[in-house]
């Protein structure tokens, strides 16, 4: 068990290719469950593989515990890696696969057996220990791969999208199991995924990456409630945050280009002082659950026309057109609106976000 420190990590695969990982700094506490989240190609897997020693970073330092592991091969870093495609040895039985890391350490046969049985019980794979992995359902292959990872009691677990190849129901189960497993073992875990549900539900902290750059690190609620960049705002949350191009309009309001969307914010004085150039393009952001619909005539901060209705059972999402903008609103399923209805929208002012459209960063107020 150990903490992991990443300092200024950069990775370039070829001399002329762009940086796959661009100056990532990350401190992961001992026993923490950290999820690296981002779209495919954002550099999250490369970061993980650098930590594992499966890739060599172009620049930067990686510490596991107190040890600088830059030059160490994967086998000497005392980590366990779970691969997206499980990477089980096809010609070894489930038992031998799980036992393998212990045998590589020349442990006594009795202890190997004892620990394999222990792990098998934990992961509920006792019955398939004698079978070879090929031909087993993917969920069980995944358990064997997990077994092989946890049996050595490594300092750090590294997991590369381990649940991606499971079907939806199994994925939900395994999510819970993995969370329990990590909590029980209290081992540092770095977990890569592109699935925000996985990240939000399992992580102690989430590190969100895009285009090789670390965007934000924070607890699930922090990144959800206070996205630091436009990317995080658009990536986290279903449906994604409503984002509207706008600019400061006079002293206390924001407007889009046509003026169809105009909203007065009492905090505007405060806001104005945060912006160097009052004419700079801004992004107004608000989550669909922070908007309420007012059907009374002429009511609401802004008014628009309902164009799409998505009933999801426990909630209904309406798309409302305001000038050239489309705003998604999450409502109670009991509220029935028809397309073409003209409705008013009110925003929860303590939960709105304003971003600098050029620097892409959130403006705090």
């Amino acid at each position: 068990m150990a903490e992991v420190k990443i300092k200024n990590l950069s990775k370039r695969f070829n001399l002329d290719s762009p940086l796959a990982v661009d100056g990532v700094n990350l401190d992961i506490a001992d026993g923490e469950f950290l999820v690296l989240l981002g779209p495919s190609g954002c550099g999250k897997t490369t970061t993980l593989r650098c930590i594992a020693g499966l890739e060599t970073q172009t620049e930067g330092e990686i510490y596991i515990g107190d040890q600088l592991v830059n030059g160490l091969p994967a086998g000497e870093r005392d980590i366990a890696f779970v691969f997206q495609f499980y990477a089980l040895y096809p010609h070894l039985s489930a038992y031998d696969n799980v036992a393998f890391p212990l045998r590589a350490q020349n442990l006594q046969k009795d202890e190997v057996d004892q620990r394999v049985q222990q792990v098998a019980k934990l992961l509920r794979i006792e019955k398939i220990l004698k079978r070879r992995p090929t031909g087993l359902p993917s969920g069980e292959q995944q358990r064997i791969a997990l077994g092989r990872a946890i049996i050595r009691r490594p300092q750090v677990f590294l997991m590369d999208e381990p649940l991606t190849n499971l079907d939806a129901a199994l994925r939900t189960d395994m999510r819970v199991e993995l969370k329990h497993l990590q909590a029980d073992m209290a081992t540092t875990m770095i977990y890569v995924t592109h699935d925000q549900t996985e990240a939000l539900s399992m992580a102690h902290r989430i590190a969100i990456m895009n285009l090789g750059v670390l965007q934000q690190v924070g607890t699930p609620l922090e990144v959800y409630n206070h996205p630091a960049t436009l990317f995080v705002a658009g990536f986290i949350g279903t449906p994604p945050m409503n984002l509207i191009n706008c600019h400061l309009n006079g002293s206390n309001s924001l407007s889009d280009e046509s003026g169809a969307f105009t909203i007065s914010i009492s905090e505007i004085q405060n806001l104005k002082s945060k912006i160097q150039n009052p004419n700079a393009p801004l992004m107004f952001g608000v989550r669909s659950e922070d908007i309420s619909v007012d059907t009374a005539e002429g009511a609401g901060e802004v008014r628009g026309e309902v164009i799409v209705r998505e009933p999801l059972g426990d909630e209904t999402i309406y798309e409302v057109e305001i000038g050239q903008n489309i705003i998604r609103v999450k409502t109670e399923p009991t509220l029935i609106l028809n397309t073409g209805d003209n409705v008013g929208l009110n925003f929860a002012h303590d939960r709105i976000h304003i971003f600098d459209a050029e620097s892409q960063k959130a403006i705090k107020f």
Partner: protein, 330 residues
């Protein structure tokens, strides 16, 4: 336009057929029949150059007909007599000699096929392991290494005939003049001549084994090796438990091809050693040729041919069964 076209067609139809239009007259020509028509030239060709001779030779194998002595006569069936003779059940002295010869030739063939395929497998797989990485000039090197495989066997044999000569051959130059060994008369010594055939065949067909092995090696997923790295597996473990099991099925298919091919070796034996010295390199195909076209024992030769066929089918089936077993294990 459309209308006038139609009218024209109708007129054409009528001109050539009297009353009925073409589409009525050719109603029998369904898609199925049409495809059969297109296929028929190939089928006929195949029938005459492959299927008919096969059946005819099967018939001849049950006679004692000779293409020279019995030309013009109708072959007389003698049952399994020729098969009996070939398998050493003959009664006369000549027949008994044939039985002994066939057994000897099978042994010679085995002495050629077994080392050839094993050496080709080991060398080819070894080369593939070496080539299974990125390095400068890999493409060029591979192309060069594949050349022997693309040459005509007779040409290869001619090369080797010169290279193996005692006076001007480069092999003996290497052995004698460079390493100080004795000159070896490769082609005229009873126990060595067969190895000259092995040598030429290994040179020619190792690239084939290499190619197939390379295909197998590059199909092994990289993450398996990475998992083994994380688990501190030794290089031997990676080879034994990842590489080998993953490429074995493909290697066995290559072995199957090479075994079948080496089993019917003729060209190199003909050019390099001419079956000599003392018949020590008369592999089965070569012996069969002698029986058929020197002794003109057409019936006997056909029987021997079918025995060869049965043997190779049996061998191939053993290998295929093994391949399927491995494939089932998964």
């Amino acid at each position: 336009m459309v209308n006038s076209g139609l009218t024209q067609n109708n007129q054409l139809d009528k001109e050539h057929s009297g009353d009925k239009p073409l589409r009525v007259r050719f109603r029998w020509l369904t898609d199925n029949r049409m495809s059969f028509l297109f296929l028929s030239p190939t089928m006929l060709l195949l029938l005459f150059i492959a299927i008919f001779p096969l059946i005819w030779s099967l018939r001849l194998s049950f006679t004692d007909w000779s293409v020279i002595g019995d030309a013009g006569k109708i072959p007389e069936p003698v049952g399994f007599h020729s098969y009996g003779t070939a398998l050493g059940l003959g009664e006369t002295r000549t027949e008994k000699r044939v039985g002994v010869e066939v057994a000897e030739r099978f042994a010679i063939t085995g002495q050629f096929v077994l080392p050839t395929v094993i050496i080709e497998l080991l060398l080819g797989f070894g080369l593939a392991m070496l080539l299974n990485r990125k390095f400068l000039g890999r493409g060029l090197l591979m192309t060069v290494m594949l050349i022997p495989m693309m040459l005509t066997p007779v040409i290869v044999a001619l090369y080797w005939k010169y290279m193996l000569r005692t006076d001007i051959g480069v092999i003996n130059y290497l052995i004698h003049d460079i390493f100080g060994g004795p000159r070896i008369d490769w082609l005229n010594q009873i126990k060595i001549a067969i190895w000259a055939l092995v040598l030429a065949d290994v040179w020619m067909w190792t690239p084939f084994m290499m190619l197939i092995s390379l295909a197998g090696l590059s199909a092994v997923p990289k993450y398996l090796y990475e998992a083994a790295d994380v688990d501190q597996a030794s290089a031997w473990f990676k080879f034994r438990h990842i590489t080998l099991p993953m490429v074995t099925p493909l290697l066995l298919i290559a072995v199957l091809f090479r075994t079948m091919d080496a089993y019917r070796l003729f060209d190199q034996a003909w050019v390099l050693t001419g079956g000599g010295p003392g018949g020590s390199t008369e592999v089965m195909s070569f012996y069969l040729y002698l029986v058929a076209f020197k002794d003109f024992e057409t019936g006997l030769a056909s029987a021997i041919g079918y025995i060869m066929l049965i043997v190779i089918i049996a061998l191939a089936n053993l290998l295929i069964r093994k391949i399927n077993e491995i494939a089932d294990e998964g």
